[in-house]
């Protein structure tokens, strides 16, 4: 067993230095805020993130448990960490333009995003339930603040407050669940909990069952699965667009990675499995059906995000060796498409003076054909049309759940995927309809153009060659 003096040895391992690097990066960004140079803040942020990327990628197959096996940076954790870092870099690039007009607190917002990312890295790699809880809190608390980042906006404050209250409520459930699991198994160690669950009689232990229920409820809140989704449309709508994009990509990826890591090797008792199936069906159904009625783009994306949660949960049912890969591909491609779309939204919203109705995309193809095509590709990817990455992602999920015997759930999911195409096409139709009256032109800064192009190209390239994005 490792002891205290190994703390300094542990720095030799890259995974530790990544955590240290990112934490220090956040502090450095805070200090850079003193100089009131927004470009430098974003630049240093991106440089730091790229350094973290290189550090993680350089020792790909090093799988060492750290700190008495409290975290383990295995291939699984590394892959998800890399996706999160790449997406954060894209968001920071977008941030240069996004924060150009903002006077105050820019450095703080970048720093909080980096802190949130540290939490994300922790919950990808936890092997101890204490780290799961702590990581989820580190992931969430900066978000509560970031959601209220637009201080002159009433909706932003409302979003922050709602997210904070409901998030604390979910944390209480999670904590209660973890405490009950500890009560039943006498260990916070994930491997010990897995070993405990492998004994069939233990599945009947009510304390353990309740612990699993409450823990899953707490994590399901983070991924916005029905019936724990109520926060997401309001928060998505009220939060600044950059933060909405961060929430629906980085945070979602981290939460799903943690969720799967938690249940991957657990022998789930029958009752818990039923709960997961019911949750999946409800999420698929509600997310897609309610999205049909949305006209505000951010709310539409929120319900689309709930719908995608449903598809991802489908991959959780009856897991096997392929599940991590399927999840990874799905989350990666989903994040890329979502980031691009939120940037397009910001640009269109600016031209429309803050309106978020989907009609603001009208005339996009005439004024900015390339942006419109990229947006089309990303929307088609989210809808799951062949030749885009979204299709491959959905297809893999369906194959996985079919081979694991969830036939009717899969049939429902396929139906819901078809329903989903409708509301994405609505947005596409707006973008390709010419605008009748004169409006402010949509201005695209070169960096934004670059990020949108990267995202648009990525969903096609990954759709044609899915092998490029795998663990």
């Amino acid at each position: 067993m490792r002891r205290c003096n190994n703390f300094f040895q542990a720095y030799r391992y890259t995974e530790m230095s990544v955590l240290v690097l990112l934490s220090v990066l956040g502090v450095v960004l805070l200090y850079l805020g003193l100089f009131n140079n927004r470009g430098a803040v974003a630049g240093v942020g991106i440089a730091g993130l790229l350094a973290a990327f290189v550090l993680i990628a350089s020792d790909w197959h090093l799988e060492s448990p750290l700190f008495n096996g409290i975290i383990q940076f295995d291939t699984y954790a590394r892959s998800f960490s890399l996706v999160m870092i790449v997406v954060t870099v894209l968001l920071f690039l977008f941030g240069i333009d996004y924060y150009a007009k903002v006077k105050e607190n820019v450095a703080e917002q970048y720093a909080l995003m980096v802190f949130s990312l540290v939490g994300g890295l922790l919950i990808c790699s936890f092997t101890n339930l204490v780290v799961l809880f702590l990581g989820i809190e580190i992931l969430s608390i900066p978000l509560y603040i970031l959601a209220g980042g637009k201080r002159d906006s009433f909706r932003s404050g409302e979003a922050a407050f709602k997210y904070f209250l409901q998030g604390s409520f979910a944390s209480a459930f999670l904590l209660m669940g973890l405490a009950l699991i500890y009560g039943a198994t006498a260990s916070f160690d994930l491997a010990a909990v897995e070993a405990y669950s492998a004994v069939p009689a233990n599945g009947q232990n009510m304390i353990f069952l309740l612990g699993l229920f409450l823990t899953i409820a707490g994590v399901a809140f983070k991924v916005a699965a029905v019936p724990f989704h109520f926060w997401s449309p309001d928060v998505y709508e009220g939060a600044p667009t950059l933060i909405t994009a961060f929430m629906s990509t980085v945070v979602k990826t981290a939460a799903f990675a943690a969720f799967y890591r938690f249940i991957a090797n657990l022998q789930l008792p029958g009752a818990v499995e039923t709960m997961l199936v019911v949750m999946t069906i409800c999420t698929l159904f509600l997310g897609n059906i309610v999205a049909l009625r949305q006209t505000q783009f951010k709310r539409l994306m929120a319900y689309s995000s709930i719908a995608h949660t449903g598809f991802l949960l489908l991959a959780f049912l009856g897991t096997d060796a392929r599940t991590p890969d399927v999840l990874f591909y799905y989350l990666g491609t989903y994040a890329l498409a979502t980031v691009g779309l939120f940037i397009v939204l910001t640009l269109a919203k600016r031209a429309a003076l803050g309106d978020e109705h989907i009609r603001i995309f009208r005339g996009l193809f005439r004024s900015n054909p390339w942006i419109a095509v990229a947006a089309l590709l990303m929307l088609l990817s989210l809808a799951g049309i062949p030749l885009t990455a979204g299709f491959v992602a959905k297809y893999r999920v369906f194959v996985l759940s079919l081979t694991n015997g969830y036939i009717w759930t899969t049939v429902l999911a396929v139906l819901m995927a078809v329903v989903g195409i409708y509301y994405y096409i609505l947005v596409v139709r707006e973008a390709f309809t010419p605008q009748e009256q004169e409006t402010k032109p949509i201005v695209v800064a070169p960096l934004n153009w670059l990020v949108i192009s990267i995202c648009g190209a990525a969903v096609v390239v990954l759709g044609v060659m899915p092998g490029l994005l795998r663990m």
Partner: protein, 183 residues
């Protein structure tokens, strides 16, 4: 000892009920202080003196007293009930009742908890807690600094007075917002 346990348990349950049912925020906060104190009593019964002291100092002493000040300074002590629709009430009661039934049923099924490790009288001493914190749980201990730092940054960010008016034009109301405000 068992009698003491039941006494503390009764106090914590009753005061917790008062917290959620009290009409005036000040009564609610004072009930919460009582609840925290009785929980600290539980810690003492479990021989966790350090935890009990920290609990009293931090939660009861610092946080709850701060709460009281905030409520009194901002003059929030009005027994007003925010408007809640009937549907919301029904949903809340149904949800809460279902959770309660599940928990009660689970406990009725017969819960046998035997301690996995023999009871160690020194488990709650400062020395033991510190040792565990700096060996086994070193990483969580260190990494929680990130949590606190982001909380501090957030408080400063949200509470700081604007130096100058925002230059960006105020966003026009969206349709949904307009409807909400007029309603």
């Amino acid at each position: 000892m068992l009698a003491l346990f039941y006494l503390f348990a009764a106090i914590s349950v009753i005061s917790a009920l008062i917290v959620v049912s009290a009409r005036k925020p000040v009564n609610s906060v004072i009930a919460l202080v009582v609840c925290f104190l009785s929980i600290a009593g539980h810690y003492v019964l479990l021989n966790a003196q350090f935890l009990a002291m920290v609990h009293v100092i931090v939660y009861t002493g610092a946080i709850m007293v701060l709460f009281l000040f905030v409520i009194m300074l901002l003059n929030l002590n009005k027994a007003t009930e925010p408007m809640k629709s009937l549907g919301m009430r029904v949903a809340a009661i149904t949800g809460g009742a279902l959770l309660f039934i599940t928990l009660a049923a689970a406990i009725r099924q017969g819960v046998h908890i035997e301690s996995a490790n023999p009871f160690d009288a020194g488990v709650g001493l400062v020395r033991t807690v510190g040792h565990v914190l700096f060996t086994e749980f070193l990483l969580p201990f260190e990494v929680s600094s990130v949590l606190f730092l982001s909380a501090i940054v957030g408080v400063v960010m949200l509470a700081k007075k604007e130096k100058h008016q925002p230059e960006a034009p105020v966003e026009p109301l969206t349709e949904a917002e307009r409807a909400r405000r007029t309603a």
